[in-house]
């Protein structure tokens, strides 16, 4: 086990364990915290892959902005009936709605994906190629040249999403929302 291998194992373990807890933690607040941990783990994986810029965006956008919105939403919806997710291991194995059927679906899909990868494994590269020295610069270059159109469209998209979120949530004329 060399250094990168150990780092990879730790980050992968953190990511997958936290993700599992997002799916299974009885308390919604706990699940939200594990979600943040998952995002951080993914950012770490990006870092390991020398995608520094993406790692930073991941931390800022997800662990920062998205998590804030999640917490807000949980508070705004006043935690109503959140307990009904508070079903532990027992429901995971017994409840068709909240456990066993989704579990079989997830595990089945994972098995399909992994087996396909396994059969293609001899063809995948074993080691990364030398990376560009400055990932931020080459992403910027790509965004402003090849991907200029989607970049502009994405800005329209964020505008549309913002307008949409405002339209949906604002309260009108003093009436209770």
């Amino acid at each position: 086990m060399n250094g990168p291998m150990v780092a990879f194992a730790c980050l992968a373990g953190l990511t997958l364990y936290s993700a599992w807890r997002v799916a299974t933690a009885p308390q919604v607040t706990h699940a939200a915290l594990f979600l943040a941990a998952t995002f951080a783990g993914v950012a770490g994986l990006f870092f390991l892959l020398q995608a520094d810029f993406l790692a930073a965006v991941q931390l800022l956008l997800y662990a920062g902005a998205v998590m804030t919105v999640v917490i807000f939403a949980i508070m705004l919806s006043e935690m109503r009936e959140v307990e009904s997710d508070a079903r532990g291991w027992r429901s995971l194995l017994l409840s068709p709605r909240l456990g066993i059927v989704p579990l079989v679906g997830g595990v089945g899909l994972a098995a399909i994906l992994l087996s396909a990868y396994h059969r293609a494994a001899p063809s995948w590269p074993l080691s990364p190629l030398p990376a560009a020295p400055d990932s931020t610069r080459f992403i910027a270059h790509a965004l402003f040249h090849a991907y200029a159109l989607p970049f502009e469209v994405a800005s329209v998209l964020l505008l549309a999403a913002m307008i949409g979120a405002i339209i949906l949530t604002r309260t009108e004329g003093g009436a209770k929302g």
């Binding site: 709605r97 059927v101 989704p102 679906g105 089945g108 899909l109 399909i112 087996s115 396909a116």
Partner: protein, 614 residues
């Protein structure tokens, strides 16, 4: 004059538009739109017929669509066959509309009736002059739609709706075949043109099986429309419509369109002898079985309906044995005498207020004119010389005798005897003997002149058309055909059987009732009688087939229907409903259930792709 032929359908179409716009305001005067237009069409088509008789013909088209390198043309063509059909259709429909003025008087949907009839005639005439299968098919579908609307004219009675839907669905089975045949032929030859198709198909040196399949698919359309066995089950039910509709659409014109289709694509059938033989077989069976069923019907319109199927069978039989011109001849004579019979029956129903012949009897005294015309029609249908039916039926059976498959001749000949028998039975039950129902007798009165005039007018061609046009028509349609082979004594056998049929009918039905009942109880007759009464189980069979493919409406299921819960909504195949219900249940409203369904489908797809792609 020939170049004006598109006006023949265009005039009724214009009348249809007038019906739509002014119909409601015009009250019962609305009928005049259609009658005037059809009178003009009749004059025009007679003029065309005269020109065609002198050797003129026309086939004109314009480019309509260009898809890739393909060009589809639209246009019309008039030759001998089309000219004869145009004249017949416009003439009969004009008089039927006149008759309907009286018959439908006071109906709450008077305008709707006339507008639909006019649209139907426009579509029928379009189908006749179309020079390509595509336009023909479009008009053919509009005819089906009008037939559907008119069968269900009195839709307050659910039985009528049921009959309408049954007719629509059953004929659609044929239409699916026809459409596939059209597309198949088109994809091979890149043309829809009637004139070009046989040559193009013939030049391709296709395997015989392909040609047979194309011809049989086209024939399937004809089987549906012309109510041939086994798709005949819709026609008797279609009698639920007003009687003028039965006369026009379900006797004289639309049902004959199937025969016309075979005649129009005869070049294709000539390339496929096996398919042509099947046309003859289906025709022979359709001539025979419904004739037996007609012998045991009590409803006067049902007798005529089964007789129509039987006569259409003769026409198909003629096509199948290569006697193209004899088939068209019979189509022509049949159109007149069967329209006459239906209109006369309508007059009887109008007078008696019932369709059950067992409640009639002795009406001759009250309905002289109607009775006389009905008898003329009967003699024509029973093929008693010199009435028109004799000439055309004789031509068909002579040709059948000359053909390799003599079984067809025997089927047709026996059916001729049966025809004479059941028509004699109908006449006697209706008009002669002692009145069986005092109320009916009291109520009966002769119909108004507006109904009687068409009857009298139609009875002239019904009586005389046969020997008048026999030779000219043959020369017009097949100028170079050899004279029919001499059939010796077998040429006279059909006539003898017809006379025998009349004699048996008179003997049984003018005689005492007890003799008839004794006969029915005899072990030899009873099973045959039961089989005929049960319509040879065709309706049951049809129901089972429709049910099995989940295609037909559930109420086609005839007897079974009564046990199916009424809640099974307005009639689509029970299987389709059950399948739909299953999918509706999956739509539970729960998002996660939807997601799960999606994921399961994805997983199945992925596994299958992996397994198949390796």
């Amino acid at each position: 004059m020939l170049a004006w032929a598109p006006l023949v359908p265009a005039l009724p179409l214009a009348a249809y538009v007038l019906h739509l716009i002014f119909g409601r305001r015009a009250g019962e005067r609305t009928a005049l739109f259609g009658i005037v237009a059809l009178a003009l069409s009749t004059l025009l088509s007679l003029a065309i017929l005269v020109q065609v008789a002198h050797g003129a013909a026309i086939d004109r088209s314009v480019p309509w669509l260009r898809i890739g390198g393909l060009q589809v043309r639209m246009g019309f063509a008039v030759g001998p066959l089309e000219a004869v059909m145009l004249a017949m259709v416009s003439f009969i429909s004009c008089f039927i509309e006149v008759y309907s003025m009286g018959y439908m008087h006071g109906d709450r949907r008077y305008n709707r009736f006339f507008s639909n009839v006019t649209l139907f005639v426009a579509a029928m005439l379009t189908a006749v002059i179309a020079n390509n299968l595509l336009l023909f098919f479009a008009a053919w579908e509009v005819m089906g739609l009008c037939s559907y609307l008119l069968i269900g004219h009195w839709f307050e009675d659910p039985a009528n709706c049921r009959a309408a839907t049954k007719a629509f669905m059953v004929t659609r089975i044929g239409d699916v075949g026809l459409l596939l045949g059209i597309w198949w032929a088109f994809s091979l030859t890149h043309t829809f043109s009637f004139a070009a198709l046989p040559g193009a198909l013939g030049a391709m040196h296709l395997p015989a099986a392909t040609l047979d399949a194309i011809a049989l698919l086209i024939f399937l359309g004809a089987v549906g429309k012309s109510a041939q066995v086994p798709l005949q089950i819709w026609l008797p039910d279609a009698m639920a419509g007003p009687t003028p509709i039965s006369a026009l659409i379900h006797a004289a014109t639309m049902v004959a369109a199937g025969v016309f289709l075979v005649a129009r694509t005869y070049g294709i059938f000539l390339l496929a002898p096996a398919a042509l033989h099947w046309v003859g077989i289906v025709g022979g069976i359709s001539a025979f079985i419904p004739a037996t069923i007609a012998c045991v019907q009590t409803d006067i319109k049902k007798v005529l309906a089964y007789s129509t199927i039987s006569q259409l069978g003769y026409m198909m039989l003629a096509m199948g044995v290569g006697a193209f011109e004899a088939g068209i001849f019979h189509l022509l004579t049949h159109a007149f005498f069967k329209a006459l019979l239906f209109l006369a029956a309508g007059s009887v129903i109008h007078a008696a207020g019932t369709q059950n012949m067992h409640e009639m009897g002795g009406l001759w005294r009250k309905l002289r004119t109607t009775g006389a015309t009905f008898v003329v029609g009967t003699l024509a249908l029973a093929a008693i010389p010199p009435f028109s039916g004799f000439w055309s039926k004789d031509a068909i059976l002579r040709a059948a005798w000359a053909s390799p498959d003599r079984a067809l001749y025997w089927l047709g000949t026996i059916a001729a005897g049966l025809t004479a028998y059941y028509m004699t039975r109908a006449v006697v039950l209706t008009f002669f003997g002692r009145p069986r129902d005092a109320h009916v007798q009291e109520h009966a009165h002769e119909s108004p002149a507006v109904m009687l005039v068409p009857l009298v007018v139609l009875s002239v061609p019904a009586a005389l058309l046969g020997w008048v046009v026999d030779r000219p028509l043959r020369q017009l349609l097949t100028p170079h055909a050899p004279a029919a082979a001499a059939a010796g004594v077998y040429g006279f056998l059909p006539l003898l059987l017809s006379l025998a049929g009349v004699a048996v009918g008179l003997a049984l039905y003018l005689g005492p009732l007890a003799r008839r009942e004794a006969l029915l109880r005899s072990p030899l007759v009873r099973p045959v009688y039961g089989l005929c009464k049960r319509l040879w189980f065709f309706d049951d069979l049809g129901a089972v087939v429709m049910y099995a493919v989940g295609l037909g409406p559930s109420y086609v299921i005839g007897a079974f229907d009564r046990y199916v819960v009424d809640g099974v909504v307005n009639g689509i195949g029970w299987l389709a409903m059950a399948f739909g219900r299953l999918w509706r249940k999956l739509s539970t409203g729960n998002v996660q259930a939807y997601m799960l369904t999606m994921v399961v489908a994805l997983a199945i797809g992925l596994v299958a792709l992996q397994a198949m792609g390796g």
